[in-house]
């Protein structure tokens, strides 16, 4: 696993990295990813290619560094970045701006498609816009100002604003269903919002029973929509069942510092990936069907023992995902470090097919084309 990964130094601290979407029908591996930088005098968004043009990979899997296709100046830190469609990305900025960029594949240039300059703001100051999620043409953003804003890619103004959605900073947002979103904030709450409702109150609030540890990232299980994973300041990975109760189902010690991103693998959700300020990127795999883990190719393995916050309240055992039980007797949970040690903070990761990309504060991008999923 370690042999397949190499650092490419890019002279900018990477805050976000995302694979360009590939259509589900094709068996293509992703070949283009976008990155955003932060903490530079002039920040940039860039598009890179790893050259998987549909063909089969060599055995080696490492065919050379990612190549820069094009880049563009970005005003403020890129705090979040998502692909809206094949050609467009949405970014959120530390200036509070939300911008849609278009990548012109033929000429390898980038242009600004649409911009909302001070979408998130305070009365007399900028408010960084911390998170975005999109389902074309709808775009939802959240910010340090505690607002939730809904845009449409093709419309000038905003569609809806929830002004005082939160008294603390909202760090991340994701879709639960097409009309429902989840947000996490800096007082450790997971909130559900239903856009069909007119009221500006969340439909549900979940939080840990102990300390109010800020939550930084959230991701929903691709198939089982009630299962949600979050990560926060203390590096704990929490898995929640939003139907049952208001506290997480299982808590697992994952990292020794802030967890910045958590991702279920989109097509193999038995695999989960987390990255952290402590410089590590963990690959979690649960296997319920057999006692033998389905992969082991070297690298460092740490079997993490998880502790369930509460036992599943009866119900059909077979439907309860291995994630929720997290108990070593019911199924095994293996974790592997995917990066060489002693990197600076891994700020962002994305995984698609067998390809994983991540970016660090050490100004390096790592690409692994043979993730064992």
């Amino acid at each position: 696993i370690m042999e397949n990964i190499n650092a490419k130094y890019v002279s900018q601290k990477i805050s976000k990295t995302r694979w360009r979407l590939v259509s589900h029908s094709s068996l293509q591996q992703p070949d283009i990813f976008a990155t955003g930088s932060w903490d530079n005098e002039v920040n940039k968004i860039s598009f890179w290619s790893i050259g998987n043009h549909g063909g089969s990979d060599t055995d080696d899997g490492f065919e050379g560094d990612p190549q820069l296709l094009c880049e563009y100046k970005h005003d403020g830190d890129v705090l979040d970045l998502q692909f809206l469609d094949q050609d467009r990305i949405v970014t959120t900025s530390s200036t509070g701006a939300v911008t849609i960029f278009r990548h012109h594949q033929n000429s390898q240039t980038i242009s600004v498609s649409h911009r909302w300059p001070r979408a998130h703001r305070y009365p007399c100051d900028n408010a960084p816009c911390t998170g975005v999620v999109c389902s074309s043409p709808e775009i939802v953003t959240v910010g340090e100002d505690g607002k939730i804003i809904v845009f449409r890619a093709d419309q000038e103004g905003v569609i809806r604003v929830i002004e005082n959605a939160d008294s603390s900073t909202i760090h991340a947002v994701t879709y639960l269903r097409t009309t429902e979103i989840l947000t996490v904030n800096s007082i450790g709450q997971l909130k559900l919002w239903d856009f069909r409702q007119q009221s500006d109150a969340p439909s549900q609030i979940l939080s840990l029973s102990g300390d109010r540890v800020p939550l930084h990232c959230v991701d929903r299980h691709p198939n089982q929509q009630h299962i949600v994973a979050t990560g926060g300041q203390d590096g704990m990975l929490c898995v929640w069942d939003v139907r049952q109760g208001s506290t997480p189902f299982s808590l697992m010690e994952a990292h020794s510092a802030e967890m910045w991103e958590v991702h279920f693998h989109p097509t193999n959700p038995d695999h989960l990936f987390t990255c952290s300020e402590d410089g590590s990127l963990l690959h979690w795999e649960t296997s319920t069907h057999s006692d033998m883990p389905s992969f082991l190719q070297g690298g460092r393995n740490n079997s993490m023992i998880s502790r369930s916050a509460m036992a599943p309240a009866g119900g059909n055992q077979s439907l309860i995902s291995a994630w929720l039980s997290g108990d070593s007797s019911k199924g095994r949970l293996e974790t592997t470090h995917m990066l060489p040690s002693q990197t600076l903070s891994v700020n962002s990761l994305d995984v698609l097919g067998q390809c994983l990309v991540c970016g660090t504060d050490g100004e390096a991008i790592f690409v692994n084309r043979q993730v064992p999923v």
């Binding site: 601290k13 830190d77 911390t130 008294s167 800096s186 609030i205 109010r212 802030e258 050490g362």
Partner: protein, 629 residues
């Protein structure tokens, strides 16, 4: 180390400043702010409102060099983790490998820059500096880190020269690709260059072409070939001792001498150089191009068993011979000479002066220190040379808007002053976003820099408070365990309640959890809100109990006593409350506690009694009525 100034200080003109004006200045961490003052030598003065920022070190802002800084940081951190207790026998290969890593990073950076330099000439200077740096580092690796003994020493030096004289291969390729290589005008240059570098195999292959062209002189070329092929090279891994090799070599050398004496090569004198005579070698000064190439070649052909301690003698004499009487040795020459003299401190000193960035000396010194090659004499200011250089380098990094994160690890590895430097500098990082503040905080927390933690959290909390983000402000005070600030926030909430009659940010107050215990005021706030909730749900007896405990626990702020008493009123007037026996008791308890409370807060009671406002009258009536119960 640097008491006297070795060179004249450089003069920098500030173009925008007008003539004759007196300039004032202030030092920054890595730059100077210069401004025009009102004073002028003569005549009237016009005010100018500009401040000029004079930055010395442009390098850290170069995108290519950033890669160098990041990659070398990675290597540096790895180097620090090599365990001290391993025997030095095991560590040397590791150190050599690390040195090679550093060098490959320099090379990669240089190669990239070379590609860019073709387009933008201002990078040409940087390329030559990097070339020089790699040359010096390589020599230091050979002499100090690898510390090759006699025999291997020359082989390493040969490698060193070959690595830095790559133009031979280019020329050779050109010659070979031509129609008739042996007649190419550069042919003999290539052959001689090969020989000068000790690449005898390749020289012989080239000579074959000449031989085929001149069949008449075949015998001579055969002889040349034989001599070249028989030249002994020391094999460090072999069974032959150095003495045995020396004997064999002298034997070969004698044979070559004989061949030259009896004029076997009268028709072609190119290869006389293999005799190692200095003057003969100096005829090829242009091909040698540098005195250190001359040095290595001379040793190759006259004294291949040179010992490390003998090097400096040969180096000095070669340099003198090679350079014209008029030309002054350049800084690079002095540095290399110091290296050949095994004067590590002189090498470091010269490099520090010649280069405008501490990167090279800091990393090299650190590596040499790990190899235990630096004498640990302390400098005036208490820390040793390694630490001094690392501190200077890291402080330079800290002035960069982005590279400050790398500097942290360097400070961590400076045991004397690193922590102090870090503590002072980290507070000056601008915190534009919460995310950046969190990263800085994490650095401080990991190093138990509690003062900085508190200071940063306070800054962020104040900013949040100013923007009315009470939840964020509370989150920051929790992180800093700042009870005073938590109290401040609670006061804001309570003020809000007093003015508006309702609570704001219920999502926060309702979900305080254990954070409530951070400060008394915060606890009061949480409990008070709970009281309201209970009352709203018509759970009066529980509400009464809670209100009771709030009063008796003495955590209620004075300003709130009136409000609490007013809240007690409806409870006292609740007729439904007293249906069940224990509810009656509760009511009695409420009343008795109320009495006690009022007794202890006589001033409030007096104010109440004296005032004619409706709540106080109702309260008095209620109290009077209750006595009858």
């Amino acid at each position: 180390m640097m008491e006297e100034v070795d060179v004249e200080p450089a003069v920098t003109n500030i173009p925008a400043a007008s003539d004759g004006k007196h300039l004032g200045f202030a030092w920054g961490p890595g730059d100077i702010l210069v401004y025009e003052t009102l004073y002028k030598a003569s005549g009237t003065c016009r005010c100018c409102s500009f401040i000029h920022e004079v930055r010395k070190d442009e390098d850290i802002y170069s995108p290519n060099l950033r890669k160098l800084f990041n990659e070398s940081h990675h290597i540096f951190v790895g180097l620090q983790t090599i365990r001290e207790d391993l025997p030095s026998k095991n560590k040397k290969p590791q150190f050599v490998s690390i040195s090679k890593n550093y060098r490959s990073v320099i090379r990669a950076c240089m190669e990239e820059l070379q590609q860019v330099a073709e387009v933008a000439t201002q990078y040409g200077n940087q390329v030559s500096i990097l070339l020089a740096i790699e040359l010096i580092w390589n020599l230091c690796e050979v002499l100090f880190i690898d510390a090759a003994p006699a025999g291997s020493l020359l082989l390493h030096l040969l490698d060193w020269v070959r690595l830095h004289k790559a133009d031979v291969d280019e020329k050779a390729a050109e010659v070979l690709q031509s129609e008739s290589p042996a007649e190419h005008h550069d042919y003999w240059d290539v052959v001689v260059s090969y020989v000068l570098q000790g690449r005898l195999e390749e020289a012989r292959q080239m000579l074959v072409k000449q031989a085929t062209l001149h069949p008449a002189a075949r015998k001579m070329y055969k002889l040349m070939d034989t001599l070249l092929s028989k030249m002994p090279f020391y094999n460090p891994g072999g069974t032959q001792t150095l003495t045995e090799f020396d004997v064999k070599w002298r034997h070969w050398h004698g044979e070559v001498n004989r061949c030259l004496q009896d004029n076997s090569f009268a028709s072609n004198q190119h290869l006389e150089i293999i005799l190692g005579d200095e003057d003969t070698l100096l005829e090829h000064k242009e091909l040698l191009s540098t005195w250190y190439h001359f040095l290595v070649t001379r040793l190759l052909f006259s004294h291949p068993t040179v010992k490390p301690t003998e090097l400096h003698y040969y180096a000095q004499s070669c340099m003198t011979m090679f350079l014209d009487a008029r030309s002054v040795p350049e800084p690079l020459d002095n540095i290399l000479l110091a290296a050949f003299e095994f004067d590590i401190h002189q090498v470091i000193k010269e490099c520090s002066i010649a280069l405008n960035n501490w990167w090279f000396v800091a990393h090299l010194t650190d590596l040499l220190d790990h190899c235990k090659l630096l004498q640990s004499h302390n400098l005036h200011f208490g820390s040793n040379l390694r630490e001094f250089l690392l501190l200077e380098y890291a402080s330079g990094l800290f002035t960069h808007h982005s590279l400050w994160q790398l500097a942290v690890d360097y400070f961590d590895n400076c045991p004397e002053f690193g922590r102090v430097y870090l503590g002072l500098q980290i507070e000056h990082i601008p915190l534009d976003t919460e995310r950046k503040a969190l990263k800085v905080l994490r650095i401080c927390e990991q190093r138990q820099m509690s003062e900085q933690v508190r200071s940063i959290c306070k800054i962020m909390a104040m900013r949040a408070l100013r923007n009315n983000r009470l939840g964020s402000a509370l989150s920051w005070s929790i992180r800093a365990k700042d009870a005073a600030f938590a109290t401040l926030i609670s006061e804001r909430f309570l003020q809000d309640y007093c003015t508006r009659g309702t609570f704001s940010d219920l999502d926060l107050i309702d979900n305080l959890g254990p954070a409530m215990l951070l400060s008394d005021r915060l606890t009061f706030l949480g409990k008070y809100r709970e009281f309201h909730k209970l009352y709203g749900e018509k759970r009066f007896s529980e509400a009464a109990k809670l209100l009771l405990s709030l009063m008796t626990a003495k955590i209620a702020p004075r300003s709130f006593w009136m409000t609490l008493l007013t809240d007690a009123l409806p409870l006292l007037e609740q007729k439904e409350v007293g249906h069940r026996a224990h509810d009656n008791m509760d009511k009695k308890r409420v009343l008795s506690s109320l009495n006690t409370f009022l007794k202890f807060s006589t001033s409030s009671f007096n104010t109440l009694a004296a005032s004619q406002s409706p709540p106080s009258r109702t309260l008095r009536r209620a109290l009077v009525n209750s006595v009858r119960v």
